[in-house]
């Protein structure tokens, strides 16, 4: 299967997100924090009259000990997607490219670190390096279940 992928970095790890799930990429400004919510919820951000819940993907993957002070999200990009009727912005380190990839996803080789284990299922090659293919829906759902358990 070929598809258009958005290439980004989360916690330094290159990832590819299928563009079917991506509505837009926005640059974040000041967020409204959501105290009481899990640490990977960076806060709320308004795009016109729409309010995004910003998920700090790096914090989600790396766990709560990831260093994220309020304000660190300034200037970061967030991938906007709508999941389960709610609008989310998945905050990534950087957005590198958007490219159509013709090759099929490859299975993962090697032992992936525990942090990535729940999210990484397949890999795709781009620009000479491997990227984890992330499904935003799975990504968020797994974090919800992780929290519920």
């Amino acid at each position: 299967m070929s598809g258009l992928y958005l290439f980004a970095r989360i916690a330094g790890t290159p990832v590819a997100i299928c563009t079917d799930e991506v509505e837009a990429v926005v640059r974040l400004k000041e967020l409204s924090p959501a105290p009481g919510a899990p640490p990977y919820v960076a806060g709320l951000f308004a795009v016109r009259s729409r309010v995004l819940t910003i998920i700090n993907a790096a914090a989600l993957v790396a766990g709560s000990d990831n260093d994220c002070r309020p304000g660190c999200e300034e200037g970061h990009f967030a991938v906007v997607c709508e999941i389960g009727g709610h609008s989310y912005g998945i905050m990534v380190d950087s957005v590198d490219d958007i490219q159509t990839i013709d090759t099929a996803p490859l299975p993962i080789c090697g032992r992936v670190s525990d942090a990535w284990q729940p999210y990484a299922k397949t890999v795709i090659e781009h620009d000479g390096s491997a990227h984890f293919i992330l499904s935003m829906t799975d990504f968020l759902e797994s974090c919800l279940y992780a929290q519920a358990a």
């Binding site: 105290p35 899990p38 990977y40 919820v41 819940t53 519920a148």
Partner: protein
Amino acid sequence: MDELLSEFVAETQESLEALANVAVALEADPSDRKLLDELFRFFHTVKGSCGFLNLPRFERLSHAAEDVLSDIRAGEGAPDAATITAVLAVMDRIAELCMAVDSGTSLPDTNDDELIEMLRHCHRMAGVAISAPEGLAVAADEVPIPQNGAPVRGAGTSRTIRLPLTLIDQLMNGVSDMVLARNEVARKLRTSDADPELETAFERLSGCIADMRDSISKTRMQRVERLFMAIPRMARDLGRELGKSIDLVLEGGEVEMDREMVEMVVDPLTHIVRNAIDHGIEAPAQRREAGKPETGSLVISARQSGSQIVIEVADDGRGINVDAVTNKVISAGLMTAQDVAQLNEQAKLDLIFTPGLSTAQAITSISGRGVGMDIVRANVERIGGVISLANDPGRGLTITMRVPLTLTIIPGLILNAGGLNFAIPRTAVVEILHSNNPTVTVAELGGGLTATIRDMRYSMVDLEDVINIPKVDQIGPRSLMIVRSASGKPFILGVGTVENHEELVIRPAAPVVMAAGIYAGMTLPDNGQPMLLLDAGGIAQAAELPLIAEHVEREDRGVAAVDEATETFAALRFIELTGEERVIRLALVDRVEDIPAHCFSSVGGVSHVSVADRLVACAAHFEAANIPGDSKEVTCLRIRDGARELCYPIASIVDIHELPAKLDMSARYGMVAGVVLIEGHQVEAIDSLALLAGVHEPSDQSEGTSVRCVIADQADSWNREILAPLLVQAGYEVVWGHQSGASRPDDVLVLTSAEASPLEVQPDAVVRLRSKSQPGGPDDQSVYRYDRDALLSAISSAHERRGAA
């Protein structure tokens, strides 16, 4: 029922359109489990709905498709082209049936069975095809599928239109944006010296937006009754089918909630109720064994709790067998035994929400295929709701759904805590005080805060502590909000400052945020900075406040004594038509009304005013002549004490005062009880009792126990034309002597002096009338017939004598 049916048809048609693509996509990618699930759920839903709508053909078709898909889900067979074609044929047939139902025509029941057989055949073939050579699968492909001509949409017309929710959302968002923009313009106008014309124009615009917002909110609100509509029938039918008797109680149908919420809650609720009847409530025999009444009880209640609607489904059935659930989870390979062992009781219970799990012993046509609770939870969570279980094994299960009242515009307060802004619904806030207010004392005891405000002790918590952020130093006192919690008991929420009051557009917050348990949603105020809406009940729970409120014993008894002396009542001060200033207890005044002067009339010394086609007595001292000749309307106090009603015409109202209960000077005369001193003026206080006592009680003819007056001689024209109307008006029932029939012991006989008294009547029941004004002699007990008062009192005392005898 019609409404339900048409809704079912519309929904099914809508799903069918979307699902044709799903089926095709499944064919293209048979391994896609999600598509398969989606297809399966559709048939499951149709089967469930038509079960209680009594549409057997729908049910048979969908049941067959569900069976096949269920097998495929279980890994028996693959959704190959032939199977999908057959499934599509079934879907087409369902679509045709929908149209037939919609237009009220009937579709000949020719080949439903053929279709079903086809489906099963294809499925069997597909199952074989996995292990068998290619040829067989091809054979399945070649099975002809019966085709019907292109479906023709019936001419049935419906009185409602169905709008996609997205459109309503857009409309709502549009209005929300409009409200935001208006607020911003309002803010700009306040800061700049705008010219008045611009402000007037803006006011008009503002009004229009408010109207529009109101009507749009109205289209969104619906009584929960609608949600309950289908339940009684469903409970009855299910109960019959399963041989269970169910006592269904529905409570709180008058609660209003967002239409969208109602729609979102219908399916989960239906599912829950179905489960409760099917799995929860036991068969009568089992119930008897368990020592429970044979009739199972199912209570469904809805109530509003702050910014949430709480819907509870409580049954007194067997509850959830937690061990069965965990065994099932383990045997289905969804979790390992070790994982399960680590869970606490509540978490084990929550496993019931695991996708693909069913604890039912047997698959029935009602429920129990393992689709259910996972979908229920997904649906509830999608609208920002929470679902929870309270299990009492052997005695019942209570499922509570809490869904927000979101996507609505509510008045809210914006507050600041720890440098962050939050919103709280204004309805949740009873009062706001500064912490330096002299009536407030805050005490800390072992980390817990207690605030005493005007002799009431409240639990108190600082918002910053609840959300775990540091307090910021601020100039000026902190604000204390008396907040109503879900349980109805108020507590004090300490915040930095309360900044503003705004109309807020509330939207559901993402589940990750809602999971914090202290938010009810989020909002985007006009500064463009999103804010979270606090949930008062959630905060109280998160802070684990003991919600008690009690009166503090007054330390100083003297204070109480003083209070008694200064007990006051609200009094309305007004000017009489005759010019005196008087006060009357405000509580007695029902309302103040301007009544046209021509409605007043004085007849026979009694004044009445006609109000809305009936006569209301005027205060006894009122005289129509006192109404100034040039006035068209008279201001009236409408006074009511529950039983009596009266109209008190006055010249004008002056003010409302708090007056001491004790008058400065008691001087009873007529209508006046005494004199009070108000701002140095002597004002007469109306004697409420005398005022109402003076009202002429209207004669009540409708009462069956009215007193009968027997007038002996009907031929006498004076009796007929003067005496009888007088008695009727005074409330007596007049009976002529020759038609009195069975005489009653309390009858009063009215005779003129010339007549002889009939022997059978006791002498004390007789009132004699004479035509001369002077009595005929010392023994003459008769009454002068033109002496109205004496006549009526003689009759009434005769009646009393008879009544006593």
